[in-house]
């Protein structure tokens, strides 16, 4: 065990820091759940790509830097330290990207990865359906083979970023006689295809962060299917593993938020702060560090040829509950002003993005598999408790 960075890792951090300080927009971008903000974030993705910083773990030929996971963590630490914009292409780079690396043909990689890396194609995800939420194996949206094409009919819901995105990846039933997790395939669909209707769903903050997608005889080339027909469930589980396991929420995000919470606490220390709030501030900082330490441990394990085990299901519960505690505590510290949406620069400086973050934190225990489902997985697969 060696918990110090090598000289190369230190130099890498410095390089990231220098580049970010020269390129991160001075003013925060508008929300990417507005048309204007989405395009501003797309431009930021292009800027990142031009510096080859879009996804540092990708191979050089796809615009990455071939970094290992420790370097990725360093990059993320610097990224959040610099206050750089959120990643509008998160679905693409963190969820679909790793899947493409593993399951796509060379032709598919050439078609999809560079456009994803450059920000030219921003991705939405299409897992859930109205009757297939936590029970994802209940999906019914069909993709019927017709020559060199698939014909898609049905509906997806809660598709994050779908309102302004260019493409959606999702699971579709390619064998109409199949049930549950059999006969499902993973298919990539352009959202401008004929027969696609996207209906925005305003989230708790009023902005359309996700959408319903209706497919009415939508034709896509068979080329757009990943892996083998019927292998979709298996591929999706690999993606979900990434989502829960390591990359969806990098620890730096929570460490930065808990640092800001400590600062907020210091500012408010003259006001009435009850001991339980003080305790929560300390706990948030400790938990964010614990999450970072755990991620370093997992990353080190993977760098040494190990694999992620069922204990990875603990991640989502831990960070989503921590995120709630961080923002609930900030709301307490802001007191009666917490409900006010900041407008002026002075208010933005005072209230920051706590309210927005607080609302977003409500979704953490729900998306990417509810925490109730995660607890079942932990109990059954990690602890070995009976399914029935």
């Amino acid at each position: 065990m060696d918990l110090t960075y090598t000289d190369a890792q230190k130099a890498f951090r410095q390089e990231v820091r220098d580049w970010l300080s020269a390129h991160v927009p001075k003013e925060p971008l508008p929300s990417f759940d507005t048309a204007e903000g989405f395009e501003a974030h797309r431009i930021w993705e292009r800027t990142l790509a031009q510096g080859n910083w879009g996804m540092v773990t990708w191979p050089v030929e796809y615009g990455g830097r071939g970094c290992d996971l420790i370097e990725w963590l360093i990059f993320e630490e610097e990224y959040y330290r610099a206050g750089a914009p959120l990643r509008v292409n998160q679905n693409g780079i963190f969820l679909l990207g790793p899947t493409l690396m593993e399951y796509a043909t060379p032709e598919q990689k050439a078609r999809f990865i560079p456009a994803m890396a450059s920000g030219d194609e921003i991705w939405a995800q299409g897992w859930s359906e109205p009757n297939a939420g936590s029970d994802m194996a209940a999906i019914r949206c069909r993709a019927d083979r017709d020559g060199d094409e698939y014909v898609i009919n049905g509906q997806k819901i809660w598709s994050t970023r779908a309102v302004y995105a260019d493409w959606v990846f999702g699971l579709f039933r390619t064998d109409p006689n199949s049930e549950r997790h059999h006969g499902i395939s993973k298919i990539l669909v352009p959202l401008n295809a004929e027969g696609v209707t996207v209906r925005p769903i305003p989230q708790l903050n009023g902005l359309p962060g996700f959408a319903e997608i209706f497919f009415d005889d939508v034709r896509v080339p068979a080329f757009n299917m990943l892996g083998e027909e019927g292998q979709g469930w298996h591929i999706a589980m690999a993606t979900a593993g990434f989502e829960r396991g390591l990359m969806l929420r990098s620890p730096a995000r929570f460490q930065q938020a808990s640092k800001r919470l400590v600062e907020l606490y210091r500012e408010r220390a003259g006001d009435i702060v009850d001991p339980s709030t003080e305790e929560a501030v300390v706990r948030c900082y400790m938990d964010a560090e614990a999450y970072a330490l755990s991620t370093y441990q997992t990353a080190s394990k993977l760098c040494n040829g190990g694999s992620i085990g069922p204990e990875a299901s603990c991640n989502k519960i831990f960070w989503s509950e921590m995120d709630l505690l961080i923002h609930e505590t900030a709301m307490k510290l802001l007191g009666a002003r917490a409900e006010i949406e900041p407008e002026t620069a002075a208010e933005i400086a005072e209230l920051g993005s706590w309210l927005d973050g607080f609302m977003f934190a409500q979704s953490g225990p729900i998306y990417a598999g509810t925490n109730e489902i995660q607890r079942n997985i932990i109990a059954e697969r990690m602890l070995g408790m009976p399914r029935k």
Binding site: L3, Y5, V262, R375, L383
Partner: protein, 362 residues
Amino acid sequence: MNFTFTEDQLSFREAIEALLVGEVTPERIRARWQTDTGVDDALMAQVLESGLISMQVPEALGGLGMGPIDFVLLAEACGQVALPEPVVETAMVALPLLVDVLDRGLGNGDVQQVIDGVCAGSLRIAVGHPINPCVNFADVADWLLLPHADEIYLVPRDAVALTPRKSVDPSRRLFEVQFEVNGAQRLAEGDVGADLWRATLNRGALATAAQLVGLSQGMVEQSVRYTADRQQFGRAVGANQAVKHLLANVAVQNEYAKPVIYRAAYTIGVSPSRADFAVSHAKAAAARAALLAGRNSIQAHGAMGYTWECDLQIWVKRAWALAREWGGEGFHKNRIHEWLLRPNALLGPEFTFGKRSIIDAA
């Protein structure tokens, strides 16, 4: 940067775990409660043979010359079986203090003799620290390390007066210790003494933290077994989500306490003077996990969990005791609080491993 254990460290843990799981059964723990010493001498001979006791003593002094990061997984294994004997405290706290005393050129002829004797299994040692009101297994120790303000004394047992105090945990043998200060037995005083006691507190807190996550794991294992066997409404109690989630919550706390404990062990090994925050974090996180494990495991066992007969009590009560020994949650959270909220604290994602690990120029 490599946050993994070596193959050797992992296989040592496996070997110790195999030894302990076979030899430290609830029946044999209960049997100890009926004896005069509370010690299983045959087991202690095996433990000595395994190298556990002298692991952190330098090779020049007859030990294995390893550090807290090599020992931390073994402390976990000791907790997992709720080992009653103070093996972890001897190896991870008492002997390192004696070695520290020698390293600083302090002490008297007794120090070397006691290290030799403990490593050879002919002597037993116990530690009193100002933060703990009692000394565990003081009556079967041949020598005691004892505080008087900042001073450190190494005193033979026949020179101390012991008043037994009953612990909630029948495996623990607590004593209040009184002794006449005798300059010839003084090992350190003043700032040096205070320094050594501070380092000892950190080692003690780490030792209890590692045992606490082991205890927590042991409690979850028993609860999983019990709820798989116990049937109600025609199916296993453990098939109910409400019961699953009780234990899943413990697993989550445990998983996130472990890397914190490993960082603390690492920090004590390489940079003991900067270990306070890491150690207090470890102790607070481990206590939180183990106390939740106790609470939820009793619940998962139903009425059985509230009986003397149920072996779960061996683990639960140890957790109750160790959560407060070597500093309770209040003490450790206050230390974290002071560290975190001091004006010049270096906070943020780049400082997880301390200032020195970051860009040199920063």
